[in-house]
């Protein structure tokens, strides 16, 4: 299939040569008829060689397919494939590696990238586990500790009502100082005031070799590591009774200002590999690692040379670092499939259960944003208080604090806590200002995929983004802009419309199972009609989850 274009070109060129020769022969009359004959002979020779080459080429391709060599993605044909001729020249570390190149997407370049230093001084004094971070968990879980209780890191805090085997444990040791409640008495956060020196609950040693899957699952449930694992479709907590088809881990994050995981992994390689080994025991399928194939440098050895996993390199723009996009190009989630996903730092915590024998929820968090004096990395624990991480680092007050990135993170106050799966804090300026003819004038400091902004001519330009909506909500009018930033075989606009009208069959058919909010966040960013796309998608996912 790949080579059909180059074959076609070859055929056309030989036909052109033939017809030119033919025309000359025909026009030159009786006097020089031998030109006609010569040209006919040359055409015949060409055709003969073409057939020989074609047949041998086909045989080669067939042979490579039969021997299974073609599965590696290398081209076994005699002709260079279109991709090989025109694709960007790839750096050496990608040579002969399984690779996916995606064209669509968009990198939003913002100012305020974290400097590659870990600030060991900064630390939040309070940490929280927030039941609201988990989809499909009852809003009022059963508390296992009371306010005022002393807990060690790894001691259980609360358990799910419907599935009591799932427990959440404290990320740090200290005193439980609050159980905050929100609407309808739902528990929003369980807060632990941390000790200066973290004390850990000692875990029983677990023999990974030769254990059964059931034993391992029970161990993970008891140690409170289970909530680290997320399951698709719907982005919910993993089922305890069913093995996933495959497990996917993305080892790079392409979201705006996202932490560089090659930096985050440093010094924790062993735990990561251990985590992968554990995951390998949990699935009947494979553990897939999505690797960064964008740069000139190879990704960190812990990723590139990970054992017991399938790796695939990805080259493209955001959202290519999203595990959802990678799953779509490795082995998509079909109706009925269940796959698990984890972040790199979750895998490390999982691995440390076995390498250190304790629940160590250490996180390296990127504190980013142009409104900070010093964007940097900090060493802390899961669910840290946002205000503690920011400290006196803000350059002014008119800002929004976000747990996560600017696309799919949640807004927080300084007293709130980082969400369970987040390893990034972003600070952006609030944009509650009127702009005179903002819709008409070329504005330099507005990130956009549109070429109607002067920034289109400066592709490397970085922005100081603010939170203005740049327009009012409208009906869907423009087509094609979502597709531009969603590198998947999905028709996003029609999917969103089917969610809005509640057409279950269409939602399923158009691939709702393959998406979660972060995958369509860029669609929401570019939406000319300013629609709340992530909210719409979640509404659809919720209805589908209730149906199933």
């Amino acid at each position: 299939m790949k080579n059909s274009t180059s074959k076609a070109i070859f055929t056309i060129v030989s036909m052109l040569i033939a017809s030119a020769a033919w025309a000359q022969g025909a026009n030159s009359g009786s006097g020089s008829g031998n030109i006609l004959i010569y040209s006919l002979i040359s055409v015949a020779v060409l055709v003969f060689f073409y057939i020989v080459i074609q047949v041998s080429d086909s045989l080669l391709v067939i042979e490579s397919k039969q021997s299974g060599a073609a599965a590696s993605g290398a081209n076994f044909s005699l002709f260079p494939s279109w991709k090989e001729l025109f694709a960007p020249r790839l750096p050496d570390f990608l040579h002969n590696k399984p690779m996916t190149i995606l064209k669509r997407g968009h990198d939003i370049l913002l100012e305020g990238e974290a400097a590659r230093v870990v600030d060991e001084q900064v630390s939040a004094n309070a940490y929280a586990v927030q039941p609201v971070n988990f989809v499909g968990v009852s809003p009022i879980p059963k508390m296992l500790v009371d306010v005022g209780a002393e807990v060690k890191a790894g001691d259980p805090l609360f358990q799910d009502k419907a599935r009591p085997e799932i427990v959440w444990v404290s990320p740090v040791s200290g005193e439980v100082i609050a159980v905050n409640r929100g609407e309808k008495r739902a528990i929003t956060s369980v807060v632990v005031l941390a000790d200066k020196e973290i004390k850990y609950r000692e875990l029983p040693a677990f023999q990974l070799e030769g254990c059964t899957r059931e034993d391992l699952v029970t161990f993970l449930l008891e140690t409170g590591a289970w909530p680290l694992i997320r399951q698709r479709p719907f982005d919910v907590l993993a089922d305890t009774d069913e093995a996933p088809r495959d497990i996917f881990i993305s080892t790079f994050d392409t979201a705006p200002l996202a932490p560089d995981l090659n930096f985050v992994i440093e010094g924790r390689e062993e735990a990561f590999q251990k985590g992968l080994d554990v995951l390998g025991k949990l699935t009947a399928g494979k553990v897939h690692l999505g690797l960064d194939g964008r740069g000139k440098q190879a990704p960190h050895k812990a990723f590139a040379e990970a054992k017991g996993v399938e790796v695939r390199y990805f080259h493209g723009k955001h959202p290519i670092g999203n595990v959802g996009v990678q799953i779509h190009h490795i082995k998509p989630v079909a109706a009925g499939d269940k796959v698990w996903t984890l972040g790199v730092q979750e895998v490390i915590t999982l691995g440390r259960l076995f390498t250190e024998g304790r629940y160590n929820a250490e996180r390296i968090v990127a504190v980013t944003g142009a409104e900070l004096k010093e964007p940097k990395y900090v060493r802390t624990y899961l669910g840290a208080k946002v205000g503690g991480l920011i400290g006196g680092n803000l350059s002014h007050d008119h800002v929004r604090l976000i747990s996560g990135d600017v696309l799919s993170g949640r807004q927080k106050t300084a007293d709130d806590f980082l969400d369970y799966y987040d390893d990034q804090v972003t600070v952006v300026e609030e944009g509650d200002e009127y702009k005179v003819f903002g819709w008409l004038l070329p504005s330099f400091n507005t990130p956009s995929i549109s070429k109607t902004f002067p920034s289109a001519f400066f592709p490397k330009m970085k922005f100081r983004a603010e939170t203005n909506t740049h327009g009012e909500p409208r009906a869907f009018v423009v087509t094609g802009s979502y597709e531009q930033v969603l590198p998947m075989d999905i028709h996003p606009q029609d999917l969103f419309k089917s969610i809005l009208v509640g057409d279950f069959e269409k939602m399923e058919g158009l691939g709702i199972y393959e998406l979660i909010e972060e995958d369509v966040a860029l669609c929401e960013f570019v939406c000319v009609s300013k629609q709340p796309i992530q909210q719409i998608l979640r509404k659809g996912l919720d209805t589908m989850r209730e149906q199933s």
Partner: protein, 422 residues
């Protein structure tokens, strides 16, 4: 500047409860002058700078040159019919002012009627004023004959906006292209005002030799004295249509007697540059192509539709060349780009995102079929030698069907994969 504006708007803000209609109007103008201070809430925290207003105004930018040339050409055609100022730039002020006097009422009437209905519905449904008419209102004057009576124009715009758009739910909901709906209304209800050889040149009582010109008060008593004071040429109230002038467009010539007849009246370069009679905005090919490239570059309009439409025309025209049963069929296929409104329809009409197909594959099919259907109507239709308006409206109706099949293909692809993995 911003503070003064804000203060001014604060002062004039009408009460929302007491006079909701006025408040809707106020809101429309307020959001026009000042982008609101809304911030994102839930979902993404930063948004792309592109909004619907910006999107739409870029189409209007692409049309600006066409407006300028269209107005001037309306004057140029008028004087050509009279046999005066035959070269393009002679009598510049006369031609330009003539065009402006002609086009200004058309533009004003279109907007008063169209925006009036929009404003009313925005107030009635309690939402902000939407920008859809920004483009429709800019397109309609360009696709009307210069001589269109204003009451017919008002009726057609009212029909298009009312029945074509608001009845379906407003901006983004219409099935048919609004601008073309206005035109097709005139086409079916008042065909003599929009077809034949008489209507493409303005300012005469009739387009027959010896027929007198029809200047108004403003030409003779307002501008003539001004021109005189500068010592320039003035409008000649006694002029008559020159002998042998027909006013026929290249298409109607080709339709009746083939390319020879066209070539005897217009050179290809005249048709290319657009100094020929026709609807106001359709004649100048380079300016349309410039506009189209602008839209493609800014990604405001979809290039797939444009490219496939050119392909559809070329293929059908070549097939018709091969058939060659009538003189019109024998017109070389590439000359079809020179005649009539193909390029204008391609750049500005077919690419309307609301009425076109929404899927990328669908866009290829949609554009190609417009090209085919449009050529069939243009060449094989026994009465009326132009097809793009009807072809686009026809394919507007079929666009959801094309999308349906494209989506079905996607769905069954996914089903197949699910079955393979199960």
């Amino acid at each position: 500047m911003k503070k003064a504006l804000l203060k001014f708007f604060e002062r004039i803000e009408p009460d929302k409860k007491k006079s909701p209609f006025l408040h809707t109007l106020y809101d429309g103008f307020f959001t026009f002058a000042l982008t609101p201070a809304h911030v994102t809430k839930g979902g993404v925290h930063i948004r792309d700078g592109m909004d619907l207003k910006r999107q739409m105004v870029h189409v209007v930018f692409a049309l600006l040159l066409l407006y300028l040339f269209g107005m001037y050409n309306a004057g140029h055609q008028h004087f050509t019919a009279l046999g005066q100022y035959p070269s393009l730039l002679s009598g510049f002020h006369l031609k330009l002012i003539f065009g402006i006097i002609l086009m200004l009422p058309i533009f004003v009437v279109t907007h008063v009627v169209g925006l009036g209905i929009e404003f009313y519905y925005a107030y009635k449904k309690g939402h902000g004023i939407e920008e859809g008419f920004l483009v429709s209102g800019a397109l309609i004057p360009l696709i009307m004959p210069p001589d269109i009576p204003l009451w017919i124009l008002a009726l057609s715009v009212a029909f298009a906006v009312w029945i074509g758009k608001e009845a379906f739910g407003g901006t983004g909901m219409n099935v048919l292209n609004i601008a073309l709906l206005a035109r097709v209304f005139v086409f079916f209800a008042y065909p003599t005002y929009i077809s034949g050889d008489q209507v493409w040149v303005a300012g005469m009582e009739k387009l027959a030799a010896g027929s007198p010109v029809d200047y108004g008060w403003i030409h003779l008593n307002f501008f003539n004295p001004i021109f005189e004071s500068f010592g320039w040429a003035t409008y000649d109230a006694a002029a008559t249509v020159a002998d042998g002038y027909s006013g026929a467009t290249p298409l109607s010539l080709a339709f009746h007697s083939g390319w020879e007849a066209v070539a005897s009246q217009y050179t290809p370069s005249e048709m290319w540059w657009g100094t020929i009679p026709g609807s106001v905005g359709e004649t100048s090919k380079p300016l349309i192509i410039l506009g189209a490239l602008f839209l493609i570059f800014t990604k405001v309009a979809d290039w797939r539709i444009m490219v496939s439409m050119v392909g559809g025309l070329a293929v059908t025209a070549m097939l018709l060349n091969g058939w060659g049963a009538t003189e019109f069929m024998k017109v070389p296929w590439y000359y079809h780009f020179y005649m009539g409104s193909f390029l204008f329809a391609m750049a500005f009409m077919a690419t309307d995102p609301v009425t076109a197909t929404s899927t990328p594959t669908g866009k290829w099919i949609y554009g190609f079929l417009i090209g085919v259907v449009g050529m069939v109507i243009r060449v094989l239709n026994p009465a009326y030698p132009e097809g793009w308006m009807l072809a686009i409206l026809f394919m507007n109706v079929f666009a959801p069907l094309i999308d349906h099949y494209v989506l079905q293909a996607n769905i069954s692809r996914r089903l197949k994969r699910a079955r393979a993995s199960a």
